[in-house]
C-alpha cells in the first residue's frame, strides 16, 4: 500500500490544472512518519520494559556463598536441657558458632564481631543445615563442605551494587617494609609502607578528593589486605586490616572504593574482610537455587518463590474449576438457546460490562461477601481463586461465545435435519468443533487472571508465607502479590529478586500464550 512512487512525484502540470502542492505532500509524509514512529515507540517501550527487568533479574541468578567445611557433633550441638536428637534442628546458635569459628580460622581473629553493622550471614541461614542434620544424624561427626549464603549487603557489594570501585595492579611496587607506629602519627594498627615508581592515576585522583567524600583505598595481596592512610611521594603508608604480612608477595593490587564510607552500608573493615575471604576462596559465587526451592524470608538472600508459585497454582486451579464450566455453559446458553428478549439482552449487557469493571472492585466484593459475610478464611487460595473466577468469568464467556459463533451454521442445520435435539446438536456437533477455540480463550483468560494482583491484596493475600501451602484453605500468596511485596522492600537486594520473579511469571504467561496460539493455529488449519 505504501507506494514510494506516491510520494516522490514531481510531474504534474502536463495533465491538469491541479498541482499537488508541496505542503500536501509534506503532510502526507509527516502523518506516515508519525504513525510508524508511534508503532516503533510502542514496541520500544515493550523492549525497554522486558530488557530492564531481565537485565536486573540476572543479578539474582547467582549469589555469593560461604563455602565452609563443618563438623557438626552431638557434643557441640545438643543443648544440655534437651534429650532428643531432633532438637539439634532448633539449635541455630550452635551451628552459627561452628560456621563463625571456621570463618575466623581463615580471617585469623574474630574481627567481624567488631563491625557492628551487619553480620556476615543471617543467623537463619544455617536453618536448612540444622534441619538436614536433625533429620539424618549420620551427618554428625562427619566433615563436609557446606554452603551458606552471605548477607545480602555483602552479596550486593560483591556484585558492585553498593559502592563504585576501581581496581588495578601496583605492578612496579617494591617490597613492604614495616613502619614504626609512631612514624605515621595516628596509629591504630600495624603500619607498613610500600614503595612504587609511578602512582596509579586512580589513587592520585582519589587522594585529591575533598575530605568529606574521600574514597577508601586498599592494597591487597593474597595474604593480607591493607588500607592506605596516607601517600608520600614515592610510597603509600598502609594500615593492615586483615591477614598476615609476607614481605615479598607475588603481586600487589589496589582497590579504590569511590563511595565514601559514610555513604554506604558497608564499612571499610568489612570490605577488607569480605575481599579477603573471597581471595581465600571461602566466599564464592554460586547459582541461587534457593530462589526456586524455598518460601519467602525476611532475608533477601534466603528468600525464594516456591511458596508463591504453589499458591499461584492452587489459586489458578480454583479459578479454572469455577470459571471454566460456568463460563462455557453460560456461553452455550447465550449462543444456542437464549430467546431474543429483554432478559437475554440484560444478561449480555451485564457480561460485557463486567468484563470492563476494574479488577479492584472484585476485590471489594470478595472482602465484603466472601470474607465478611460467608466468613471464609483470609489469604486462602480458595477465596483468591473464587474472586479471580468471578473476574475471569466474563472473559471466558465472551471467548467461548466467539468460538461457538464461528462454528458454521451448516453443521447445525445438518444435525437438526437428522433429527437431533438442539441439546444433542450442541453437545455432539457444535462443541467438538468449537472446542479448540474455547480452550484458547479459556487459556488466555486464565493467563490474565494469573497476573492479577489488586483484588488479591484486598482479601489478605499479601502476607508473609515461608512455608509452601498444602491446600486451598491454607494461607498463601501468589507470584504477582509476591512481586508487589518484594518491590516495596526497603533493601535494594529485593530488586533483583523481584525482577527474577517477574521473569518467572512472564515465562509462565508466555508458555500459556504459546499454547493458546498453537491451538488456535491447529484450529484454523482444519
Amino acid at each position: 500500500m505504501a507506494d514510494p512512487k506516491e510520494i516522490n512525484m514531481s510531474h504534474t502540470g502536463a495533465l491538469s490544472g491541479v498541482r499537488v502542492v508541496r505542503t500536501r505532500r509534506i503532510v502526507d509524509r509527516v502523518l506516515k512518519g508519525l504513525a510508524i514512529s508511534c508503532v516503533g515507540l510502542s514496541i520500544a517501550f515493550l523492549a525497554v520494559i522486558i530488557l530492564s527487568v531481565v537485565s536486573i533479574s540476572l543479578r539474582a541468578l547467582t549469589q555469593y556463598q560461604l563455602f565452609v567445611v563443618l563438623t557438626p557433633t552431638l557434643e557441640r550441638l545438643l543443648p544440655e536441657s534437651a534429650s532428643n536428637v531432633s532438637d539439634i534442628g532448633n539449635n541455630m546458635e550452635g551451628f552459627n558458632t561452628l560456621v563463625l569459628e571456621e570463618v575466623h580460622s581463615v580471617l585469623g581473629e574474630p574481627l567481624l564481631s567488631d563491625s557492628n553493622h551487619i553480620e556476615l550471614f543471617a543467623p537463619l541461614a544455617v536453618a536448612s543445615i540444622a534441619e538436614a542434620t536433625a533429620e539424618s544424624p549420620n551427618l554428625l561427626g562427619v566433615s563436609r563442605q557446606y554452603r551458606i549464603p552471605i548477607s545480602s549487603v555483602f552479596d550486593q557489594y560483591l556484585k558492585g551494587q553498593i559502592a563504585d570501585e576501581s581496581f588495578g595492579s601496583l605492578s612496579q611496587a617494591s617490597m613492604f617494609s614495616e613502619m614504626k607506629p609512631s612514624a605515621a602519627g595516628r596509629a591504630s594498627g600495624d603500619l607498613y609502607s610500600v614503595g612504587f615508581r609511578e602512582m596509579p592515576r586512580d589513587i592520585k585522583t582519589a587522594m585529591n578528593r575533598k575530605r568529606a567524600d574521600l574514597p577508601s583505598i586498599f592494597v591487597e595481596t593474597d595474604n593480607a589486605i591493607f588500607q592506605v592512610i596516607s601517600v608520600a611521594d614515592d610510597q603509600l603508608i598502609l594500615e593492615k586490616r586483615v591477614g598476615d604480612i609476607v614481605p615479598e608477595p607475588d603481586r600487589i593490587d589496589y582497590r579504590v572504593v569511590w563511595t565514601p564510607e559514610v555513604q554506604r552500608a558497608i564499612l571499610d573493615q568489612q570490605i577488607a574482610e569480605v575481599n579477603y575471604l573471597k581471595r581465600a576462596g571461602v566466599i564464592r559465587p554460586a547459582l541461587n537455587l534457593r530462589f526456586l526451592s524455598s518460601g519467602d524470608s525476611t532475608y533477601p538472600e534466603l528468600a525464594g518463590i516456591l511458596a508463591a508459585l504453589v499458591g499461584s497454582f492452587l489459586t489458578l486451579i480454583v479459578t479454572a474449576l469455577i470459571s471454566v464450566p460456568i463460563g462455557i455453559m453460560a456461553a452455550i446458553w447465550l449462543e444456542e438457546f437464549a430467546p431474543r428478549n429483554r432478559l437475554t439482552t440484560f444478561i449480555e449487557v451485564n457480561i460485557n460490562n463486567l468484563a470492563a469493571v476494574p479488577s479492584i472492585v472484585f476485590g471489594l466484593l470478595g472482602a465484603a461477601v466472601l470474607l465478611n459475610f460467608f466468613g471464609l478464611p483470609r489469604s486462602a487460595p480458595i477465596v483468591g481463586g473464587l474472586v479471580l473466577a468471578l473476574l475471569t468469568l466474563p472473559t471466558v464467556i465472551i471467548a467461548s461465545r466467539a468460538a461457538l459463533n464461528a462454528v458454521s451454521q451448516d453443521i447445525r442445520t445438518a444435525a437438526l435435519s437428522l433429527g437431533a435435539s438442539p441439546m444433542q446438536m450442541v453437545i455432539d456437533h457444535v462443541l467438538p468443533v468449537a472446542a479448540p477455540g474455547i480452550i484458547t480463550g479459556v487459556i488466555l483468560g486464565l493467563a490474565r487472571s494469573l497476573g492479577e494482583t489488586a483484588p488479591l491484596l484486598l482479601i489478605g493475600m499479601v502476607v508473609f508465607i515461608g512455608e509452601v501451602p498444602s491446600g486451598v484453605g491454607d494461607e498463601a500468596t501468589t507470584l504477582p502479590v509476591l512481586i508487589y511485596k518484594w518491590s516495596t522492600g526497603a533493601e535494594r537486594a529485593w530488586e533483583p529478586l523481584t525482577a527474577a520473579t517477574i521473569v518467572v511469571l512472564l515465562i509462565i504467561l508466555v508458555l500459556m500464550n504459546v499454547l493458546a496460539s498453537y491451538l488456535r493455529q491447529r484450529y484454523e488449519r482444519r
Binding site: 500500500m1 502523518l31 508511534c38 530492564s52 468469568l393 438442539p422 494482583t453 489488586a454
Partner: protein, 460 residues
C-alpha cells in the same frame, strides 16, 4: 480440608449408587414390559443421578458456607457476661484465636475456660455437620424418590434431562447478573454504613483526606489525583495508540502487520504489577532527576518542582504505556470496519493518503475512536497496581505532576490491605470509594459499548 473430602466421598458414593439404581430400574422395566425403552437405560441412570446429587451438592454448598456462622452464634449465646461485655473487635479476635486453636490439639491452653470453649467449638461443629449431613442425605433420598416415580418404559427421560441441562446453562448465564448484584450489594450495604458516620456531601466535596483519624473523609484530593493521572496516561496513550492503529490499518503491509500487531498486544498481556515495578525502578528515578535539574536552572525558583521519589507523572506515563494497546486495538478494529469504498473514492479523486485518512476515514470512524478512548479512560481510572506502587499515598491537590499524589484505587488498597474489621469508618470508606469508582467506570463502559454497537450496525 477434611470436610471437603467427606463431602466429595459422600457425593461420589451417592452418585454411583443412584446411577446404578436408575439403570437397574430401567432394565427391570424393560424386562418386565418386554418393550424397548424410549430413552436408553444409561440416560435413566444419569437422570436419577442428577436428581439425587444436585440437591445434595447444593445442600453441601449451603452447609459449608453457614456452618461457621451457626457455630459461632451458638457459642456466643453460651459465653459468660464478662466476655460479652468486650468490644466487638476484641470479641472477634478472641473467637478467631479460639477457632485457630481448635486445630492445635497438642497445644495445652493455660486458661481452663478457653480450653473448654475450644472443645465446645469442636463439639458444636460436629453437631451442626451431623445434622446438616443428615438432612443432605435426606434431600438426596427425596430427590431419588421423586425422580424414580417418572421412570416408565416410555418416559421421555431425554427431554427431562435436556430441560434440566438447559436450566443449568441458563443459571450459569445468570451468574453474571448475580455477580453484578453482589458487587452492588456489597458496595451499597457497606457504603450506607459508611454514610451513617460521614455526611455524603463531606465525602464527595471535602478537600481533606486523612482516614487514619477516622474523621477527614473529603475525597476531592483522591478524585483530583485519579483524574490527573488518567489525563497524563491518556496524553500518552491516545496519540500513540491512535497513530499506531492508523499505521497498522492504513499503511502497513500485511506482513508487517502480522508481526507488529501481536507485538503491541504483548504490552496488554503484561501484568500491571510489572508495570508498577518498571515505574518505580526506571521511570520515577528518571523523572525525579529531571525535575531536580529543572529546579537547578537559574531562572527557576528554588524547589519549584517537588521532585518526589513517587510521582503522579511516573505513574501516569507508565499507565499510558499500559493503555496504548487497548486504544490501538479498538481503534484498529474501528478503522478496519470503515468500508474500503470510501478509501477508493477518496483516492480516485486525487487525495493523498493523508487527506484520505484525515478527511474521510477518521471522520467516518470518529464515534468508534471516541469509544476506544472512553474505554481507555475507564481503564486508567480503575487501574490499581501502578498507582499503588508508583503514585504515592499522600492525598493532596497540586498541579505539580512531579509531586506524589494518591488515587481512589490506591486508597482502597491502603485502607483494606491491613485487616478487615468492617466497623470503622476507615475501612468502610473503601467501599464508598469503590462505589464511586464502579459507578463512573460502568457509565463509561455502557456509553462506549453502546457507541461501538451502533457503529457496528451503521457499517454492519
Amino acid at each position: 480440608m477434611p470436610f471437603a473430602w467427606y463431602a466429595f466421598v459422600l457425593l461420589a458414593a451417592a452418585g454411583m449408587a443412584s446411577y446404578t439404581a436408575g439403570r437397574v430400574q430401567a432394565l427391570f422395566l424393560k424386562f418386565q414390559s418386554g418393550k424397548a425403552l424410549r430413552s436408553s437405560e444409561g440416560l435413566h441412570g444419569i437422570f436419577i443421578l442428577m436428581a439425587t446429587c444436585l440437591p445434595m451438592f447444593l445442600g453441601l454448598a449451603v452447609l459449608a458456607s453457614v456452618d461457621g456462622p451457626i457455630v459461632r452464634g451458638a457459642l456466643v449465646s453460651e459465653l459468660p457476661e464478662r466476655l460479652l461485655a468486650l468490644p466487638t473487635v476484641q470479641l472477634d479476635q478472641y473467637l478467631e484465636q479460639l477457632w485457630y486453636l481448635t486445630g492445635q490439639s497438642d497445644v495445652q491452653l493455660s486458661d481452663p475456660f478457653d480450653d473448654a470453649a475450644r472443645w465446645r467449638i469442636v463439639a458444636l461443629m460436629g453437631q451442626v455437620r451431623l445434622v446438616g449431613g443428615g438432612s443432605i442425605v435426606a434431600m438426596g433420598l427425596a430427590g431419588y424418590w421423586f425422580a424414580s416415580r417418572f421412570q416408565t418404559v416410555d418416559a421421555p427421560i431425554r427431554d427431562y434431562l435436556e430441560t434440566t441441562l438447559r436450566m443449568i446453562f441458563f443459571a450459569s448465564a445468570a451468574v453474571a447478573v448475580l455477580i453484578t448484584i453482589g458487587i452492588l450489594a456489597s458496595l451499597v450495604f457497606q457504603g450506607v454504613r459508611f454514610f451513617a458516620f460521614v455526611n455524603p456531601l463531606d465525602f464527595l466535596f471535602g478537600t481533606s483526606w486523612n482516614p487514619s483519624n477516622n474523621q477527614d473523609f473529603g475525597a476531592i484530593p483522591l478524585f483530583f489525583g485519579t483524574i490527573g493521572i488518567a489525563i497524563i496516561a491518556m496524553a500518552v496513550a491516545a496519540p500513540i495508540g491512535i497513530l499506531s492503529a492508523i499505521y497498522l490499518s492504513e499503511y502497513a503491509s500485511p506482513s508487517f502487520r502480522r508481526v507488529a500487531k501481536p507485538a503491541m498486544e504483548v504490552l496488554a498481556g503484561i501484568p500491571t504489577v510489572v508495570y508498577g515495578f518498571f515505574a518505580i525502578l526506571l521511570v520515577a528515578p528518571i523523572i525525579r532527576s529531571l525535575a531536580r535539574s529543572v529546579n537547578q536552572l537559574t531562572w527557576v525558583p528554588d524547589g519549584f518542582l517537588a521532585a518526589q521519589p513517587n510521582s503522579a507523572l511516573a505513574a501516569g506515563l507508565v499507565m499510558g504505556i499500559m493503555i496504548i494497546p487497548f486504544v490501538s486495538s479498538v481503534t484498529d478494529g474501528v478503522l478496519r470496519s470503515v468500508p474500503d469504498e470510501y478509501r477508493e473514492g477518496a483516492l480516485a479523486l486525487g487525495s493523498t493518503r493523508a487527506e484520505m485518512i484525515l478527511r474521510i476515514v477518521l471522520p467516518a470512524a470518529r464515534p468508534g475512536i471516541f469509544a476506544a478512548l472512553l474505554l481507555g479512560v475507564s481503564r486508567a481510572v480503575g487501574e490499581t497496581m501502578i498507582v499503588v506502587m508508583a503514585a504515592g499515598q499522600r492525598a493532596q491537590i497540586t498541579l505539580d505532576a512531579t509531586s506524589d499524589m494518591t488515587t481512589v484505587t490506591a486508597q482502597i488498597v491502603s485502607l483494606l490491605i491491613g485487616d478487615s474489621a468492617f466497623d470503622s469508618p476507615r475501612t468502610l470508606s473503601a467501599f464508598a470509594l469503590g462505589g464511586v469508582l464502579f459507578l463512573v467506570t460502568v457509565i463509561f463502559n455502557l456509553i462506549a459499548l453502546r457507541v461501538v454497537r451502533q457503529y457496528r450496525t451503521a457499517y454492519g
